[in-house]
Amino acid sequence: MNIQRLFQRTLFGIFLLFGIIAVSTSWVCIATVDSQLSEEYVSNSKGIAKTIADASVDIILNRDLSALQSLIDQFLEIQGINYIYIVNEDGEFLAHTFVPGIPEEILSSDRAGTDSIERSFSDAENYIEVGSPILAGVAGSVYIGMDKSLISLKIQRAVGRQMYLISSIFIAGIFAAIWLVNLAAKPVSALLAYAVQLAQEQKGEQATQNPLLERDDEAGQLARLFLYFAKIVDPDRVEPQAAK
């Protein structure tokens, strides 16, 4: 019997088990956080877009566009909002927050509605864009771009925390497994050594005085069984002390 191999297999099993747990819980975590944050993002963005749209009506109809720009600049301070733009009913840009200019992707897109869409600019970042009509659309629309990297960052943080917890449990599990395997392996090793001793001794008293024979677990029963078979094979053997 190869104890080392038994130990390796146990460790492999633990690794496999924890790997499956880590991957599956991470996947569930990513999917849950992503979907919940995206929904929350879209919902909040729509609320902000509607607030700007409602506040814009009076400015667009009665006031200078600098007041409109001042309004959207204040909302840009909210974490996660990457850009805001307002177009009139003809699609002409009235105010925006883009630097150094309005991205080609937005200029070239024919944005009719105010549904949520995903956008990807040349800066390789991904955005969720939501819109809200101003005065039911007859005065234009407000669009807000929310940075998806913030969602990714939050997912990374959530998964990171989860992996930290699983890794801690895993490391504790390894130490526990080593201790348990050692606990199980010691009597097996002693039994193995005892079997070898029985096989080597022609007629010895030492085999009958092994402390293994006094154990009341499976190792002790096997040791006594080995001695019993050894006596059948060689009747000159002395009765074990424990058996007396």
Partner: protein
Amino acid sequence: MPLLTRRNLLKTSIAGSLALPFVTRLALAQESLASEGVSDSQIVLGTSAAFSGPSRGLGIELYRGAQAYFAHINGQGGVRGREVVLKLYDDGYQPVPSVQNTMKLLLEDKVFALFGYVGTPTVTRVLPILKKFQQEDILLFFPFTGAQPQREPPYGEFAFNLRASYREETQGLVDNFLSVGRTRIAVFYQADAYGRSGWAGVRKALSAYGESIVGEATYKRGSRFSSSMRDQVEILKKSDPQAVICIGAYGACAAFLRDAVDAGLEIPIANLSFVGSENLLQLISEGTEASDRYSRHLVNSQVVPSYEDESIPVVKEYGELMRRYNPKVPGDLYQADYQPFDKSFVSLEGFVNAKLLVEILNRLGDAPSRERLEEAVFSIKDFDLGIGELISFSPERRQGMRRLYYTVVEEGRFIPLYDWSARFS
């Protein structure tokens, strides 16, 4: 020595009770005046402006011009015996600090009025505070911005402007460019309320001619001369413009001019008065022997005449008082690495602002109060400030001047531009 008799005590208490209401009323009046930023010896005005950061030159020069006149008046005994004092705070040309400073000026310092604010993004955020405190009759005088929000409802009634508006400045530039056949006009602007105000002015002026802005590019407020504006230049080059109107501050506009000319965009590049012309010229001239390569494309609109033209009475007075007082920004706001200009368009504007404000304070009489401040402003009718333009205010007219001046650079100095076709055809 009066004895402490029953009769004397009775006399004293009767006299005391008769005098008490008058004494109390006087004390309350004194307290009320002091709480309005006015005491027997001072009238305190509050200022929040850029004294640090990439646009500090604007705040510093505006203050220096105003302080030259206030120092002159204070040296002569002040306004009806009261010294005019400016309480200064630095906002770095950022909206949030300007709001905080304004709250401090109103609630803690209890200033008489606000004066000499710098910038559109700052002033537009301060205006709602003035509406909130309208019961206190707080007014903002002569901010260094030509934006519309302090010129129209709902906040127009809380501010008085002296300078021409950005709408008028951009209208003038568009008119002149179109008059010399440059119809394809692009805009380079600061991505905030100031930039948008100028952009809207250009758009409106062009639409009157059936034209529209051919290209636009923005930059972030606070950009310095060291920033690259190549991306912006590339965006504008694609629209093949015949002129560019910049709505920005000197650091970014100088960087844009440098990168535009370096990229071969050799067309007229105009700036509004807010830019800080001398600061801009200094930046594009530093470290290059051929600064004319950049400056010959410049054309800046101004809201005050050339500070070199001492045939104009107020310019002569400005020159004399700047030389005499050479004001410096007080201790905690002092910027050791900033070298002020002997004279500049910005400090001349500050000087003119201060001169008109002193006239208004003088018209308040011996017991100035905020309550009568607006009335005093409206009493200004066809007032000759010595600038060549008569100034009037009324409830419908809250901007004193409308005249514009155009300047170009020759031999490292700004000179008036009268003939656009000779220069830019």
